[in-house]
């Protein structure tokens, strides 16, 4: 279906994974993974947001439109949100969005919400590795089309 990436098909598949991390828990968890030298896949690139509830479904659609193979959202554990209730919004919104994406052909395994605290560097690294491994197995994602480009 996609031909614009034929050139790189020869090489080993390197998925593009975006991890949206909340500033207070998960981004700090990533920092802890870093200072603990807990390696995880280089395919994961982090975007910092103040809270997981800042993540607009549009960001995720945009990522799949631009060629991302997986998107993971990481926030504080339920009850621990720095802003009290942000992660509850995330949980509800993403449940809906991920079902819709699945319906559109972006498999459920390509999207995920995880709760990772500032003290869980090891969990951060393990989660990212596991997620990257899963995406690698799934292969390239379908690129969402943009109606405006037709």
């Amino acid at each position: 279906m996609q031909t614009d990436r034929g050139v790189t098909a020869e090489k080993e598949f390197q998925p593009k994974i975006i991890a949206f991390c909340c500033n207070w828990c998960s981004y700090a968890g990533a920092d802890l993974a870093g200072s603990g030298r807990l390696s995880y896949s280089a395919d994961v690139k982090i975007i910092r947001v103040p809270c997981s509830c800042r993540i607009n479904p549009m960001f995720i659609l945009r990522a799949f439109q631009k060629g991302a193979d997986g998107v993971i959202l990481a926030g504080c554990h339920p009850g621990d949100c720095h802003y009290s209730t942000g992660n509850y919004f995330t949980r509800r919104r993403m449940t809906l969005l991920f079902s819709m994406l699945d319906y559109m052909g972006i498999e459920k395994e390509r999207t995920r919400v995880e709760w990772i605290s500032a003290a869980e560097g090891a969990k951060f690294s393990a989660t990212m590795n596991e997620f990257a491994g899963e995406i690698k197995k799934l292969g390239r994602s379908k690129r969402l089309g943009d109606l405006r480009c037709r």
């Binding site: 593009k16 975006i18 920092d31 870093g34 390696s39 720095h82 003290a119």
Partner: protein, 666 residues
């Protein structure tokens, strides 16, 4: 169009060893908007900062990207640098190529490639940055200390001595906490009450300290400098202002079924009681579960006998609303319950006790008046076995994975005191490791072994059972002698693991202060900011942050106080400018944003709207910038896209997504 400078830091070899910094600087030079790029050993050093400042001036930069460590580390530093060079501090973005790249990847090509992509995302974002201005908010010059143990008392005293008002909220009827229950303290063996009670008195009499005992924090709102706290003062059924503490009521109470919490339930107390002789305030409290008046309506002996008419059965819980600039958490610890450790027989045998119970048994004010005797038959034990690490360092899931830290030392203390007072008693200690890092700690432990002849056995106890003749048989292993042994003991003392106080989790949620999986409060930085919570204005004192002994607790209490004083000394605080903003032209006034805002920062106002063709009054959302904390929940709830978050705008995040997804060379 922005004029962007890119500064790639080596961080010595922390980054440069795995990331080709020259290549990163070179590659990012061709990104849109970038007019200058450089690399340097330490960007955060004075020379590094000067390099940035002169580049800003020489190349008329409007924005900068620093590829370095985490923004949680040096974002503030580089914002200040930018500001000193004359550009808005919020025109700075950090690409985290240390924690997220060089430290976790080993392959240079991979790490360099990732660093370039992270740099690109930051450049893409800074292209869309706009100057932001910080707001200002006043600071309430009053601190709240939650917990009245040695940590809370010391913090409160230090803050009060600096001239600020402090309130202590303690859930128990008296301040003093766990330290008040201790007999002697290691490694000097001075008596706990002798050094604690003067501090309790000082706190009670200090003109700047208000005590709320038998009280709990009910609700916390607001933010650093301006917390609104509701405190529930539970009904004591005794008027604190009238009571003289004569104790007439406690001696007349006919109910004797209550367990004396202060003595770990080893003896009883009346339904109206003062926890211990030196309690502060020295005012009794009625335990309504035991009180005959509350249960049957008949009795009231305490009221009849009170010479100052202080007993008041109709007293109700009171609520106090107060404003604070800073909050210190000093909720302390407790010991675990031992239902997962049936092998030690704690629930079956009266003579198997915890160390805290042993502490009371040794204490002159304890249930046996300081004469060491077995709880079962009140006989003096001739052989005592101490078991360390009961539930500590336990990876089976039954107890706690961490080291409780204080047990090695207090067990050595107990063993030593026992041999000192009763030289004919044989004392055995089962241990996994003996950990005594602290001033004069190892010397103390060695004295227990060498001078007092305490038998230390490396190994764990497998089972404690009754021999049917009033002895406890302790079966364990001696790893050094490689043999199983059984000791006939009269008493077994378990060093039960410590845990965070049960009130901590609820309080953490109320304060939105982060906690670890063990319910200990997380510090803002494990080394450099050990007494601050990541939540601004919330500070940590004592065991609530992790296991600590008394000297460490007192040191941390003082440190927390210093941080609070530093905060309260300011008249105004700068507030975060990355807050929500509503576009009145697009807003339809649907109220979705208002409903999701956790802080009530969004209101609606009739506003004059002028979009060129239409001029009218519309009901549109207005954000109160002083109250908004910038979570961004409203931006996603807004169906029309009128809500955006400054510093993290939709466009900026789209740009980051695009930059990361871009093919190399595309």
């Amino acid at each position: 169009m922005q004029r962007i400078g890119v500064f790639v830091c080596w961080c010595g070899s922390n980054i440069a060893a795995t990331v080709d910094v020259k290549k990163v600087a070179e590659e990012l030079k061709s990104e849109p908007g970038v007019v200058y790029s450089a690399d340097y050993q330490y960007m955060c050093s004075e020379n590094g900062q000067n390099l940035i400042k002169s580049a800003i001036k020489d190349y008329s930069l409007t924005g900068i990207v620093v590829c370095s460590c985490s923004p949680r580390m040096h974002e503030a530093t580089f914002r200040k640098t930018a500001s000193e060079a004359g550009i808005n501090p919020y025109m700075v973005e950090i690409a985290n190529i240390r924690e997220q790249c060089s430290w976790i990847h080993k392959d240079m090509a991979t790490a360099t490639q990732k660093a370039i992509i992270l740099g690109r995302a930051a450049v893409a974002k800074v292209n869309l940055n706009t100057p932001l201005t910080e707001g200002e908010s006043p600071v309430v010059k009053r601190a709240l200390v939650i917990g009245g143990g040695i940590a809370g008392i010391q913090t409160a005293l230090d803050i009060a001595d600096a001239g600020y008002k402090v309130d202590i909220v303690e859930k128990k009827p008296t301040i003093g906490g766990k330290m008040a229950q201790l007999d002697k303290t290691f490694p000097t063996l001075d008596c706990a009450a002798c050094i604690l009670t003067p501090k309790m008195v000082e706190a009670a009499q200090h003109e700047n300290i208000t005590l709320y005992t038998y009280s709990e924090v009910e609700e916390v709102k607001g933010y650093v400098g301006n917390f609104d706290v509701k405190i529930r003062k539970k009904a004591r059924y005794v008027n604190e202002n009238l009571c003289t503490g004569c104790g007439e009521c406690t001696s007349k109470c006919p109910s004797r079924k209550g367990l004396n919490e202060f003595n770990m339930g080893l003896d009883g107390r009346g339904a109206i009681y003062i926890p211990f002789a030196q309690a502060i305030p020295n005012v009794p409290v009625i335990d309504t579960a035991q009180c005959i008046k509350f249960k049957t309506g008949k009795c009231g002996l305490c009221q009849m006998n009170c010479p100052s008419k202080a007993v008041d059965f109709s007293q109700k819980d009171e609520f106090i609303d107060e404003k604070y600039g800073a909050i210190v958490v000093a909720t302390g610890f407790d010991i675990i319950t031992l239902e997962n450790y049936e092998e030690y027989g704690y629930s079956m045998y009266k003579d198997v006790v915890t160390s805290l119970e042993f502490e009371r048994l040794m204490n002159a004010a304890g249930p046996s008046k300081g004469h060491l005797e077995r709880p079962s038959d009140h006989k003096q034990p001739k052989t005592i076995v101490f078991v360390q690490c009961v539930g500590s360092r336990d990876t089976t899931g039954c107890g706690k994975e961490y080291c409780s830290k204080i047990c090695c030392m207090y067990t050595a203390k107990h063993a030593m005191l026992t041999r000192e007072k009763y030289p004919d008693t044989e004392v055995y200690v089962f241990y996994i490791d003996v950990r005594t890092p602290g001033k004069n700690f190892d010397e103390f432990y060695r004295r227990a072994v060498e001078q007092y002849g305490v038998h230390y056995i490396k190994g764990m106890v497998g089972k404690v059972y009754d021999d049917g003749q009033g002895h406890l048989m302790v079966r364990g292993s001696d790893l050094l002698a490689n043999e199983q042994l059984t000791i006939k003991a009269d008493m077994v003392v378990l060093a039960a693991a410590t845990k965070a106080d049960e009130s901590a989790r609820k309080l953490g949620t109320m304060l939105t202060a982060s906690m670890d999986t063990n319910d200990f409060f997380t510090e803002a930085h494990p080394k450099l900011r050990p007494v601050e919570s990541p939540t601004a204005g919330v500070f940590l004192s004592g065991f609530c942050q992790g296991p600590k002994d008394i000297p460490e607790t007192v040191a941390q209490a003082g440190a927390a106080a210093a941080k609070v004083i530093g905060l309260l000394a300011k008249n105004k605080l700068k507030s975060n400018p990355c807050v929500a903003r509503a576009d009145s032209l697009i807003c339809s006034g649907c109220s979705n944003c208002e409903k999701v805002c956790p802080f009530g920062a969004i209101t609606y106002a009739e506003t004059d709207v002028n979009d060129g063709t239409v001029r009218e009054k519309r009901r549109v959302a207005v954000v109160n910038e002083a109250v908004c904390k910038g979570c961004g929940a409203c931006t996603v709830a807004c169906p029309s896209g009128a809500m955006d978050l400054k510093g993290f705008t939709n466009k900026q995040i789209f740009a980051e997504v695009d930059a990361i997804c871009r093919q190399t060379g595309e």
